[in-house]
């Protein structure tokens, strides 16, 4: 009886107090009670209260009609939207294809709102794309003299931070020429220019950008070595950072000093192409420890390699 008492506390109270039972719909129900017993009557009443017995209410009929009307309008709206969506899709497709200057549509003014909205969306998208392009290291082009000269900025970055920005001003009047630049003088710019400035500008910019980024990486690595690994001295380097001579000390006081020379022949890479180890102790460079270290130096940026070597006890 829990359900009943929960839902109809007043009703249960009515039963328990005895006396006259007052229920909402006497008539037919009362007859049923007389013929089938109190429990079945109560059961009937419970079902009625829970709404399980279909009720024929005129108000309810009105509501059904209303809802039917709502369904009808919603369906109509849906069809309308479907058509609109189709049209938008179509327009978008045509805009994507590039022929968004459809004369007829313009004249009739049809779809003008959607068209404007779509174009704005397209523009925003392109702007974002451009920004993303800059962020991942694209080139900034600025016309300095319309149709004649322009200026390119090449950004360099190392491990997620921007470093130096280099610039080139190019002249297009007759052949493509570099007017001025602030690329380091040791950079083989002339070679790159000869290779593909005339024929393929993006390729030229790409290779130059590779060179510059690799240079920045090498410069930053040297800075990090000087900064983080105190036991290693940078004896020699050059402007291009293509040679790096390091003086390493062993972990023990009496260990001989080691001269590590890194050669970066591939200027577009931040990793060395050749590693030589020299020491007063002739056997040391051929020890398994140092052999391992050599491969490590070839595979890892120099500051990371030295850090690992430090941890594994090869150097102090």
């Amino acid at each position: 009886m829990m359900t009943l008492s929960e839902r109809f506390p007043g009703f249960v109270r009515g039963v328990s107090t005895g006396g006259s039972i007052s229920i909402s719909r006497p008539g037919r129900d009362m007859d049923a009670a007389r013929t089938q017993g109190v429990f079945s009557h109560l059961h009937l009443l419970e079902r009625g209260a829970l709404g399980l017995i279909p009720q024929e209410d005129p108000a309810q009929n009105d509501r059904v009609d209303d809802l039917k009307a709502v369904i009808h309008t919603l369906r109509a709206r849906r069809d309308e939207l479907r058509v609109q969506a189709d049209r938008t899709r179509e327009l978008r497709h045509s805009i994507d294809k590039g022929d968004f200057l459809d004369e007829e549509d313009y004249r009739t003014g049809e779809n003008s709102e959607i068209r404007a909205a779509l174009l704005t969306a397209k523009q925003t998208e392109l702007k974002k794309l451009l920004k993303a392009h800059h962020l991942i290291g694209g080139y900034d082009l600025i016309e300095t003299q319309p149709g004649k000269r322009f200026c390119v900025s090449l950004h360099t970055a190392y491990e997620g931070t921007y470093c130096t920005t280099y610039h080139l001003e190019l002249d297009l009047t007759r052949t493509v020429q570099v007017v001025r630049h602030d690329v380091p003088p040791s950079m083989p710019l002339d070679t790159l220019v000869q290779q593909n400035l005339q024929t393929n500008l993006p390729a030229f910019l790409h290779s130059l950008s590779l060179h510059l980024n690799a240079l920045t990486s090498r410069q930053q690595q040297i800075v990090l070595v000087k900064d983080q690994i105190k036991s290693v001295d940078v004896l020699e380097s050059n402007q291009l950072c293509s040679v790096l001579v390091l003086l390493c000390r062993g972990p023990k006081q009496q260990d001989p000093e080691t001269l590590v020379t890194l050669l970066y022949r591939d200027l577009t890479s931040e990793l060395p192409t050749q590693v030589t180890v020299e020491s007063e102790d002739d056997a040391l460079p051929n020890s398994p420890q140092w052999k391992k270290s050599k491969t490590l130096l070839l595979d890892q940026p120099v500051h990371k390699a030295l850090e690992i070597m430090n941890k594994t006890g090869v150097i102090a």
């Binding site: 602030d182 690329v183 380091p184 003088p185 293509s242 040679v243 200027l267």
Partner: protein, 347 residues
């Protein structure tokens, strides 16, 4: 101590200002610091030289010419602005040019030069900022090297630039050849750039000064902040002024620019002025030499352009100073046409 060593030491002591002598001697490290402190640097140079000499003789009984040359180099590297430095350019690099390394270069250069000329003394020292300093004292078959007038050469490895001080035309080909071979290049030529300050012409040629380039992004604010002006003063041509400033900075750099003293233009062009019949109809070119000189030429030119005294856009004759890294130009008729007319009035 032999005679030459003595003379060179005397010259160095004489040349170095008394205020810096202690520091130079300390860096040299042949005389203990304690004894240096006892020296009286305020006496005459003659007395001072005798003191230094006796100290040297007491402390290092075999003080040779090599050591004294080193002393001279130490002073010279610290104070390179003493005369005219000329820039040279190595061209036609070999494939393995990037692998030239200091030790190798030293050996090669010395070997090549001694092959070419018998009596020569070469001393090579690497300075902190990646520069290799070479001191050469020249002699010939009959004379020992003259230590009193050495040639100094500064070269940055892996770059095509060489800076030369006090080089006679007689020794020029010898030095050039030795350098070309030691640095693995095909040839070497004059850059037509000279100046009193080595650091300036080096920075100028290597473009390690602040150049202005147009960018899409606004510059940091402090650069644009100008002195507040009275609201009652209005500039009608403010926009043009800004543009001129930008053009001037693009042509001649901004901020701390290298110090160049002169720019020389040698004209070998036909005279095109009107009215002067004798000059107009000459067969030969009209020869003239135009020299701009200033304490800091680039700043002066920048001012001329930004103040509107020189026309904008900047004439290529002036802007090629920075673009080509030269300050000596020969202008012929075939090249950049009209010459004297486009020269601007110089403040």
């Amino acid at each position: 101590m032999d005679e030459t060593t003595r003379t060179v030491l005397q010259r160095v002591v004489r040349k170095v200002p008394a205020t810096r002598l202690r520091e130079v001697l300390r860096t040299w490290g042949r005389v203990p610091a304690r004894q240096l402190d006892l020296l009286d640097f305020s006496t005459s140079k003659f007395v001072l030289f005798e003191d230094v000499r006796s100290l040297c003789e007491v402390n290092s009984n075999r003080l040779t010419l090599k050591h004294v040359c080193e002393l001279e180099m130490i002073y010279f590297i610290g104070n390179p602005a003493q005369g005219v430095w000329r820039a040279c350019h190595l061209t036609e690099p070999d494939d393995d040019v990037m692998t030239v390394e200091l030790r190798q270069f030293k050996e090669q250069f010395k070997a090549r030069l001694t092959e070419l000329i018998s009596n020569v003394s070469v001393k090579i020292k690497k300075h902190d900022d990646e520069a290799v300093w070479i001191r050469i004292a020249w002699g010939d078959h009959f004379h020992r090297p003259n230590q009193l007038k050495p040639t100094y050469v500064v070269h940055h490895l892996q770059t095509p630039y060489v800076f030369v001080y006090n080089l006679s035309t007689k020794h020029k080909p010898l030095l050039y050849q030795a350098l070309v071979l030691a640095t693995r290049h095909g040839s070497m030529k004059d850059s037509h750039l000279s100046g009193k300050s080595l650091t300036s012409i080096r920075d100028f040629l290597m473009r390690s000064y602040q150049q202005a380039f147009p960018t899409k992004y606004a510059r940091p604010l402090q650069e644009k902040n100008t002195a507040p002006t009275n609201p009652n003063i209005e500039k009608e041509h403010a926009e043009q002024e800004e543009k001129r400033l930008q053009l001037a900075c693009e042509a001649f750099g901004e901020g701390n620019v290298p110090r160049l003293e002169t720019a020389t233009y040698k004209l070998e062009t036909r005279y095109r002025g009107s009215g002067n019949e004798t000059l107009n109809n000459r067969e030969e070119p009209f020869r003239a030499l135009i020299k701009f000189s200033s304490a800091n030429l680039l700043v002066s030119l920048n001012h001329c352009v930004s103040a509107g005294m020189a026309e904008t856009p900047v004439t290529p004759l002036l802007s090629s100073i920075t673009q080509k890294g030269k300050n000596y130009f020969v202008i012929t008729d075939k090249g950049s046409g009209n010459s004297s007319q486009s020269m601007v009035q110089k403040k």
